[in-house]
């Protein structure tokens, strides 16, 4: 799995951080997504898919 995030689209809802804190974080100064791990281990794939699915800004893209 490869993850890319679109910082321009990101609306800072923080759902991805709550779901997969090992993979996503938010910048301190504006809440925009920070990608911590663009190729996370398999045990995190399900929650990363959920994070991408519920992102209100559709800012998380996955290629598997």
């Amino acid at each position: 799995m490869r993850i890319t995030v679109d910082e321009d689209k990101c609306c800072g809802a923080g759902q991805c951080v709550l779901l997969a804190p090992e993979v996503f974080d938010q910048r301190e100064d504006d809440g925009v997504v920070l990608l911590l791990d663009a190729a996370p281990p398999e045990r995190l794939h399900a929650t990363v898919r959920e994070a991408a699915g519920v992102c209100p800004a559709a800012a998380i893209e996955l290629s598997e």
Binding site: K9, C11, G12, A13, G14, Q15, V17, L18, P21, Q26, R27, E28, D29, D30, G31, V32, R49, E50, G53, V54, P56, A57, A58
Partner: protein
């Protein structure tokens, strides 16, 4: 207007028979009439969208603007200003494009997951205190008045650095500003003037003696273009947070608890497995058939939706709640499933304007539910669910009372 136009135009909002159930018409609209002509409370016409894909697309499409003060935009309510959607708030904060994004990101830093985790113990303490008071009064109690209504306004007052003694004022202002029909125009105008005056003084005081609240930080900081936020925008931001964050969450607490108790197996399942609280909150948000007006948008150019050409100048109303019941988006959409994952509901909207405070709302809802499960495991509705009544006249839907015992 021709007679058959009248016959074919639905009145909106569409009434529902039972407080927790969706109107029977939603399913038919989604199937047969995805772009429906409706008559708003003002008498003006709009187009109603009810399908998941359409609502999601429109909410994130910049061609569907928030310019609801355009000359030919439909007015929502009959009173002159059209209520909160047409208030001056809408013109003080940048509504679109880069300006909006800069504003949003200045404020957005206050709603990160990390900050929510830091707020959670305080919210838990507030919920405990309100439940202490409710229990001390004895049952049956109105959970909405005792817990749902005060909690979010306490949270917002803390966020804005407003003293505890002014919480009741804030509760009244937010109720008045958001109501579309219950108050007279004079009352709405007076509440708005009082609130703006209060916030103007509050902002000046925070500039002079900054605290650790959001307004103090915003008044010291600058946006990504290096511009500080003007006083007018600070006041409007405070007002926006109050009207967006109080009544919505207050009502959602009541509706969530009512939905979980209406079929008490849901409550028992959460007692047995509190790890379901997170997904249960999302499902309550999706399943809420009474969220209020929906989200209006004004179309600055001709656009095609669901195969229909929608002309420039149309006001479109997105029913997120109808979209959340779309079988094409959610398996068994008509069932409340506490473990539904993923749950990409549209209750907070979608795209660049999706709810700024959604992380806060989630934190409040999850915390209230956890505290209730811990403190009052025997909680139940004190009336049959069919006797619950909806509030009327609000932009935000809710229940008048949520009578409970334990």
């Amino acid at each position: 207007m021709r007679q058959d136009d009248v016959a074919q135009t639905l009145n909106y909002p569409i009434p529902s028979d039972a407080a927790l159930d969706p109107p029977a018409g939603w399913a038919r609209l989604r199937e047969q009439c995805p772009v429906a002509r409706v008559r708003l409370p003002s008498g003006d016409r709009a187009s109603l969208l009810t399908r998941y894909d359409d609502v999601k697309q429109v909410l994130s499409d910049p061609r569907f603007t928030r310019q609801l003060d355009a000359d030919d935009a439909a007015r929502i309510a009959a009173n002159e200003s059209g209520g909160v959607f047409n208030s001056s708030m809408a013109s003080t904060i940048p509504q679109s494009g880069e300006g909006h994004q800069r504003w949003r990101r200045m404020v957005g830093r206050w709603f990160t997951a990390r900050r929510m985790a830091a707020l959670k113990p305080g919210i838990e303490a507030m919920a405990d205190r309100l439940i202490d008071d409710m229990v001390a009064q004895g049952h049956p109690a109105d959970l909405k008045a005792s817990l749902g209504f005060p909690l979010p306004v306490w949270v917002i007052c803390d966020l804005l650095g407003v003293p505890d003694s002014d919480r009741d004022k804030f509760a009244y202002w937010s109720d008045t500003l958001l109501n579309l029909t219950r108050y007279t125009q004079a009352e709405i105008d007076a509440a708005q003037a009082e609130f703006v005056a209060y916030m103007g003084e509050h902002v000046a005081a925070r500039r002079a003696r900054p605290g650790d609240d959001l307004l103090s930080e915003l008044s010291k900081g600058a946006d990504a273009a290096g511009e500080p936020m003007p006083d007018g925008a600070l006041v409007a931001t405070g007002m926006g947070l109050l009207v967006a964050g109080h009544e919505t969450t207050a009502n959602m607490i009541g509706k969530m608890v009512a939905m979980l108790l209406a079929d008490r197996r849901r409550w028992e399942r959460l007692l047995a497995d509190p790890s379901l609280v997170r997904s249960a909150v999302e499902e309550a948000l999706r399943f809420d058939a009474n969220p209020g007006f929906g989200m209006p948008r004004y179309l600055g150019e001709e656009v095609e939706i669901a195969g229909a050409v929608i002309p420039r100048g149309t006001t479109v109303v997105c029913s997120m709640a109808a979209a959340n019941r779309d079988e094409n988006a959610f398996e068994h959409a008509g069932e409340m499933r506490l473990d539904r994952v993923p749950n990409p509901h549209l209750t907070f909207g979608s795209g660049p304007h999706s709810c700024l405070g959604q992380a806060l709302a989630r934190t409040e809802l999850q915390t209230v539910l956890e505290v209730l499960l811990r403190r009052l495991p025997s909680l139940e509705l004190a009336v049959p669910a069919k006797d619950l009544r909806r509030v009327e006249g609000l932009a935000v839907g809710g229940l008048r009372e949520v009578p409970v015992r334990w």
